[in-house]
């Protein structure tokens, strides 16, 4: 019995630590793939320390955790003393109130707080950015407080009430007796509560995910968006460093505690336990640090009166300086030193729309696709551009002016254009099967097929396959498309957006539908991948364009950014990385000739004739399609 227990315990600990070992090993790997170790390197660590944004995010996380722990520890301890002295009936009520954030699922807590903040902040107080640092801090305090209360309460109950009475008999005021007697007795509870609150706050993803706006983001929330894109191994390096740090911290804490206990046994110290002394100092140090950091943060924020430009773009949709490309954002910041770009990503037009509609954040520049721009214009979500700030608009090719989605060129300046097609792995897929969109329904490749996880692109493919108009509003036709997609479900491995990168490059899946430029990027990483455009059935031809949403705070700077992107050399350098067609005259000349002459990036004009654009459909149709798609997903 004992032996099996021991073996089981060892096995469980191996189970708990295997994934972490995988990540630690990956941080020394030259390759990006978790399952293939290519060769040893320390480059990921170098990359990590070069990435100031990532370190800033870690700083944000620490700031929030330290502040929320310090505040909730102080607040919670006093509250616990108060609750302890309440009448039993009242105490019970307050304790069940305390238990709400403990027993409620995190997702409900997160949603309820974000709805409250947006509802009160935006609707009642008229704040533009109602999801900010303050609200995130409040959210963290809210879920930290119960940990303090629940750890301190039992210590208060264990304490002999005669102790405080004795202190007061000896002449202490109630306040003195609290600090001289009670606090000592309950200190272990406070410390363990604070540690718990701190770790929960540092690693909290779910609640922060719903409460975060655009300005202040913590590390776990950003990591979530990283894991949707192809993840950079420097993240693993950071994980490893954090692991070592936390491990060392925990061991020292425990050693101090053990030493304190030993000393106590040996010398029977009458005064304060040494461990407590140390803990008190640690706590005081942490609080002081929090205050310093907090002030520092405020000073930094006020001092450099830089404008922060919040740019929101698709994942993998701007050259970031890797693989010898130009770092576009850095180039922009160098040209305009007073502007700091705060860059974040979304993975579909619909998620962008939801983010903006959800409210509570300020975004200065977005890059949605054609049909979404039309929808946003119709719903008054965009601001008209001031073209006197965008002199380079003259570089935009005539084909991309006076478009169907923005006929008077009021709200948008084109960024890229491209097609939607099929990417497949030549090694596994028989060339004879590559005949059209039906490849995505082929049972021969069951569970090796990836499908779009957004309704518009998924329905578009079904419409091309069935020969319907892509902009049909006929409910019977849409229902037929839904049936077709529902039939496809059994062969689909997964519904994805940018996760397609990992699955196609790693050859876990063999066939997928995606945007041409992204397919091109995947093909650069895996030579077995091929792109196919079903020209006979038709395919989507899209334009992504830069717009300024109505929640923008820095309109002029956003226009400077747009103007910057309209320079042929910048646009060309950008396309070299993202592999799309540029709408800017002359940009093609600045591109890598191999790419500029690639038919995936620039298909022949003859072929392009068979492409069609998505148009804006009325709200009723959009919702109808969305409901159908939801049903397919949860079937």
């Amino acid at each position: 019995m004992k032996k099996t227990n021991r073996i089981l315990t060892v096995l469980i600990f191996i189970f708990l630590y295997i994934p972490m070992a995988v990540l630690v090993v990956a941080s020394f790997n030259t390759g990006k793939n978790l399952s293939v170790f290519e060769s040893f390197t320390l480059n990921q660590y170098k990359e990590l320390f070069k990435d100031k944004d990532l370190l800033a995010l870690l700083g944000n996380s620490l700031l929030i955790s330290i502040l929320s722990t310090a505040i909730s520890t102080a607040f919670g301890t006093f509250a616990a003393v108060g609750i302890h002295n309440l009448k039993p009936k009242m105490r019970k009520v307050v304790m069940s109130l305390t238990n709400i954030p403990m027993t409620n699922p995190d997702i409900v807590t997160g949603i309820s707080l974000s709805l409250l903040f947006v509802f009160v902040g935006s609707n009642m107080l008229g704040q533009k950015e109602s999801l900010n640092f303050g609200t995130l801090l409040i959210a963290h305090i809210t879920f930290s407080l119960p940990y303090i209360i629940l750890n301190v309460m039992p210590k208060l109950q264990q304490m002999n009430p005669a102790l405080t009475d004795a202190a007061m008999d000896l002449g202490c005021t109630p306040v003195q007796s609290f600090f001289k007697v009670t606090l000592h007795e309950i200190m272990p509870g406070i410390v363990s509560g604070a540690i718990m609150a701190f770790t929960m706050s540092l690693d909290d993803f779910v609640i922060s995910y719903f409460v975060t706006g655009s300005g202040f983001v913590t590390l776990p929330v950003e990591i979530y968006s990283y894991t949707k894109k192809p993840i950079h191994p420097k993240i693993y390096a950071m994980f490893t460093l954090l692991f070592v740090l936390i491990f060392v911290l925990m061991v020292t804490m425990n050693l101090l505690q053990i030493r304190g206990e030993r000393k106590k046994e040996e010398t029977y110290v009458k005064q304060e336990k040494p461990a407590m002394k140390i803990f008190r100092r640690v706590c005081a140090g942490v609080c002081a640090l929090a205050v310093v950091l907090g002030c520092g943060w405020l000073i930094v924020n006020n001092q450099n009166k830089q404008v922060t430009l919040n740019v929101m773009n698709w994942g993998q949709n701007i050259a970031d300086g890797s693989d010898g490309t130009t770092d576009i954002i850095k180039a922009f910041e160098e040209k305009y030193p007073h502007i700091k770009v705060n860059y974040s990503t979304y993975d579909s037009n619909e998620t962008l729309y939801s983010k903006l509609k959800g409210g509570g954040l300020t975004v200065d520049l977005i890059i949605p696709s054609d049909y979404m721009i039309a929808r946003m214009i119709a719903e008054d979500m965009l601001l008209p551009l001031d073209f006197s700030n965008i002199p380079n608009y003259k570089n935009v090719q005539a084909d991309f002016k006076n478009t169907a989605y923005d006929p008077d060129n009021t709200y948008s300046v084109p960024y890229t254009w491209g097609t939607v097609g099929i990417i497949y792995n030549e090694k596994y897929v028989d060339g004879e099967d590559v005949t059209g969109w039906e490849l995505l329904w082929n049972e021969k490749y069951a569970k090796k097929i990836l499908m779009f996880d957004n309704s518009r692109d998924a329905f578009g493919i079904a419409q091309y396959k069935l020969g319907y108009d892509v902009n049909t509003m006929d409910e019977a036709e849409l229902q037929a498309c839904a049936d077709e997609l529902s039939r496809q479900r059994s062969v689909v491995r997964k519904y994805v957006m940018d996760q397609i990168y990992a699955d196609m490059e790693g050859e876990n899946a063999w066939i997928g539908a995606y945007y041409a430029g992204d397919c091109m990027m995947m093909m650069e990483n895996n030579e077995n991948l091929r792109f196919y455009l079903p020209e006979n059935q038709g395919f989507n031809l899209f334009i992504d364009a830069m717009c300024i949403p109505s929640c923008a705070e820095n309109k002029k700077e956003a226009e400077l950014f747009i103007d910057f992107m309209c320079q042929p050399e910048i646009s060309g350098a950008n396309m070299d990385y993202i592999c799309y067609g540029s709408p800017i005259e002359g940009a093609r000349d600045y591109m890598d000739p191999e790419l500029a002459n690639n038919p995936v990036v620039y298909p022949d004009a003859e072929i392009l004739k068979n492409g069609s654009s998505y148009a804006y459909l009325p709200e009723k149709t959009t919702r109808f399609v969305e409901d159908l798609f939801m049903k397919i997903r949860i079937e």
Binding site: N85, P105, L116, S354
Partner: protein, 273 residues
């Protein structure tokens, strides 16, 4: 005087918790009962919930299975830790706690690397000349992810209870003629019930509401209620339906913890890890 002090100290806290836990739940209720377009009162969101009942059922099923597996795996571990020397106990406790401090997103992502079609396990298998297994995208993978992530939530409360069991009680049972199995079933197990119940709750609640684990390790068949809620807020822009689903999830959890507390008798602050 004492009463005043108590209210003075706890008053701000009560006010804070009412504003930031009770009122937000009221706001969720408000959204659940209004129309997304017009903002008028409606019961449509609640009517639409019927569509999601199967998803809710799947989620509850997965969460119950994970909680039970965690119990079966976690109990012997907690028991083993509780019967070590104090120093060993501290070390093992710390080792159980440590994974909880590390990013759960990245740890889950590591499982993707392990279970993938061309992942670590399958590379090893094919290297040994064995056929590869289809591991990712299955319900098993999702449950594995849940067990992995929430196992410490089971071990820690169990340990906290088992370590407090008076050794003399066990000795007494042995003196009175109980064998090992009987000592366990008649003394240790009943005394550790509060730990079992709080462990089950602490695994069940996050498991039933997760959305990341199913997104990463699941396939087309493993959409859980957490995914659906997240989707309503972050993709479909239907916060009202999302709010209605959140209410249902919350009620479900309330009912489950209510049942647990009935069995365990309510102990103030018993959930402390």
């Amino acid at each position: 005087m004492k009463k005043n002090k108590a209210l003075l100290l706890s008053g701000p806290y009560i006010l804070f918790m009412v504003i930031f836990t009770l009122i937000p739940l009221g706001v969720v209720g408000y959204f659940a009962l209004t129309d997304p377009d017009t903002g008028a009162f409606t019961l449509n969101n609640l009517k639409n919930l019927a569509l999601f009942l199967p998803t809710l059922g799947t989620s509850v099923g997965y969460a119950i299975v994970s909680a039970l597996i965690c119990l079966v795996l976690g109990y012997p571990v907690a028991y083993y830790i509780a019967h070590r020397k104090p120093l060993t106990q501290k070390i093992l406790y710390m080792l159980t706690m440590l994974p909880m401090c590390m990013s759960f997103l990245l740890r889950t992502l590591a499982w993707v690397g392990i279970l993938e079609t061309n992942g670590i396990i399958n590379t090893l298998l094919t290297g040994l000349g064995l056929p590869a297994l289809e591991l990712i995208g299955t319900p098993g993978a999702v449950i594995l992810g849940m067990v992995y992530n929430y196992l410490p939530y089971m071990i820690l409360p169990l340990y906290a209870i088992i370590v407090k069991i008076d050794r003399r009680l066990i000795e007494a049972a042995e003196d009175l003629g109980c064998n090992g199995v009987q000592v366990f079933s008649k003394v240790v197990l009943p005394l550790s019930t509060p730990g079992i119940l709080s462990g089950l709750t602490m695994v069940f609640v996050p498991a039933v509401s997760t959305f990341y684990i199913s997104q990463k390790l699941g396939g087309t068949e493993t959409m859980l209620i957490g995914d659906v809620i997240e989707r309503q807020f972050k993709y479909a822009n239907n916060r009202n339906l999302g709010a209605a689903l959140s209410l249902v999830l919350m009620l479900l959890v309330l009912v489950c913890t209510g049942i647990m507390n009935r069995f365990g008798g309510d102990e103030e602050g018993g959930v402390v890890v």
